[in-house]
């Protein structure tokens, strides 16, 4: 347990840490919320520093992750409320927002949120034609038509019933 200041170990739980995003914004976070991230927990255990600088997470993404951590650290909320918060959290977010979130939660090792976000990203791709996915995510098809046909032929079983939406 970190006990660097005069408050002593008993109040350590209520202490806060400052987390700085790559664009310089600082966030005051309770330690109980911060330690839900395995990476932050490790940093806090190893260093006496109360200021953590995250060089690859921008302020908007960090603010979202911290909102998530704070909600999940709140003992006053029931598990049901937390679950519905998680659903709300990812619903309606654009793919690019989710992308930064999944990277941030991977770096910070927030396993549950990483799972929720990755699943949401997969849901966007589910039941979609390859052409839709390429268009939606600006994926440049660098295969020659012959090469693509050859790959489809190799895994013919995966292509035997295409009736997916293309909108």
């Amino acid at each position: 347990m970190v006990t660097t200041d005069e408050k002593g170990p008993l109040t350590a739980k209520k202490k806060s840490v400052i987390i700085r995003s790559c664009d310089g914004d600082e966030f005051l976070v309770s330690e109980s919320a911060a330690v839900l991230s395995t990476s932050l927990k490790k940093i806090l255990e190893e260093k006496e520093d109360r200021l953590i600088h995250l060089s690859d997470i921008d302020n908007k993404t960090l603010a979202m992750v911290i909102a998530y951590l704070s909600t999940h650290a709140d003992d006053g909320l029931s598990d049901d409320l937390k679950r519905s918060f998680d659903q709300e959290f990812v619903s309606g977010k654009e793919f690019d927002v989710l992308k930064y979130l999944v990277l941030a939660t991977d770096t910070l090792q927030v396993t549950c949120l990483c799972y929720t976000v990755a699943k949401k990203m997969a849901d966007i791709m589910k039941n979609k034609l390859v052409e839709w996915v390429r268009r939606e995510f600006d994926i440049q098809n660098d295969y020659t038509p012959e090469a693509e046909a050859e790959i489809r032929r190799l895994d013919a079983w995966a292509w035997d019933d295409r009736q997916l939406e293309d909108d």
Binding site: K60, F95, D106, A122, E136, Y143, D161
Partner: protein
Amino acid sequence: MGKKPAAQRGEDGSKSMDRISNLPQPILHHILSFLSQKEAIQTCVLSKSWRYLGSTRPNIEFCESHFRSGRKKEKEETFLSVLDKTLQGYHDQKLSIRKFVVEMPMVDSRPISFLEKWIPIVILDMGVKSFSLSFRLQESEYFDLPSIVFEAESLQELYLERCELNSIDNVMLKHLQTLCLQRVYITEETFEKILSSCPLIENVSLLGCKGFKSIKVNKPHNLNYFAFNDTYELYKKQDNVIRIEIDVQTIKTIRIVGCLNWIHHHIYFPHLSCLFLSRVSLSSESFGFFSCNFPSLENLTLHYCFGFKEFHLLSRSIKHLRVCGMKKPIKATVDAPNIRMFKYEGDNIPQSITFTTTSSEWKSNIILWSYSDFDYHASSWFHKLHELLMALSQSEISLKMPQERRRNQKIEDPLSLVPTDINNYGGGFYKPVVVENLSVRGYYPYSSFPGFLRCLFRICRPRYISQCLYLDAHSEWEREEKQLTEFLLVILLIKKNMRQYVWLQDLEEVSMEEFDENGQELHPLDMINVRLRLKWRE
């Protein structure tokens, strides 16, 4: 962020910077792990950087239904050869498989040799954490599972269906947390051996299994979930009574379906919070036992249970009580100071229910499936319903009557069925009970519906009325919609046409409102989200 960056060419002009491909491979694998095997494989043609992503993700999930084209025999051939090729690919590249889910078709004996080859490799070399294997087999056919599955030290979850567990010598499932056996043939000894050798096991489910006469669950120290389902045997001979003994102090949830002899006496479960019993024989004494020995019980569900005519339940911890499908009207006394929700579902109205509680905010939900009693004894039916509502009047009541339409039967006018003395029953002084939500299926034809409502409004004052609908069948949709519109009109017109009814003087206002909380605009097709709001004189 939030803006969609245009595809950019990298400096060498070869690689495009699109919106997804530049994510690190482990993250892409994680995302792909939520897709079906088929969808994952399809991503291989997206672009060159996706060529091998979908075919190297850390999970393999194959089931026969993914192979749709071709004849049965042909499909099964393809299934085996594709699975073989896939596993060979993982093996050659020394890739690990975290989750292995395979639903095998069984044509002849080839799958057996196939599995004998692959199971040891998957189990021992690929670091599998979750292993699920099921078979499409006939009743009483089982696949003789190689015992090596039980030597997988890394395994955390094991799901087996239609397997036979024989001669298991070595159980080394040190990390196993979840065991789910469905339609598995397993002896008492094997089951006990597995349980006693899995120190971390938390969840155990035995669904439709055979091969034992009794089940003892008393070894695991971390067990918190136990489910047992015997309904697959329900309509067979009943001399085969299975005894279940659970003696694990850590248990939090027990779900038992169809077991005829549950040995629970003299056992104290300090942490049991959820108990679901379906088709279980209980006695009135069982309830006294629940009251004393389950001090943390919060959720109790009695689903088609039998063997008792009345029960008395006293529990400080109970929050949700659900009684469903009682064959005969029961008598119940419930003393539950912290109740939040009482749910009653069934064909009949309970003989009597007495609730004692200090809970100030609780709800009761009554669902009466049919009006069978009503058709023959309308006045006593309303009388019993009134008594039930009175007993629950401290709660926020929701009353639902999803009556089935009797299309092929002669539809009788309920008005003629209800004796005129309903108005004078008990001296004509029914105290109407406030009901928050009333949901009715409505009568057909609707001309008879006001008669039913007339009686209902004598005993209750619904604040909202909506229509119960079943919209699963597409062909029914149009008809249901038309009926719904008629239904709403009938109620809206009640004030005009039914001046003769006593309760009408109390009804100050009827209005229609949308109750969908998404805030969408009212649209004719969304009539399902419309209810009537009734304002009664205080």
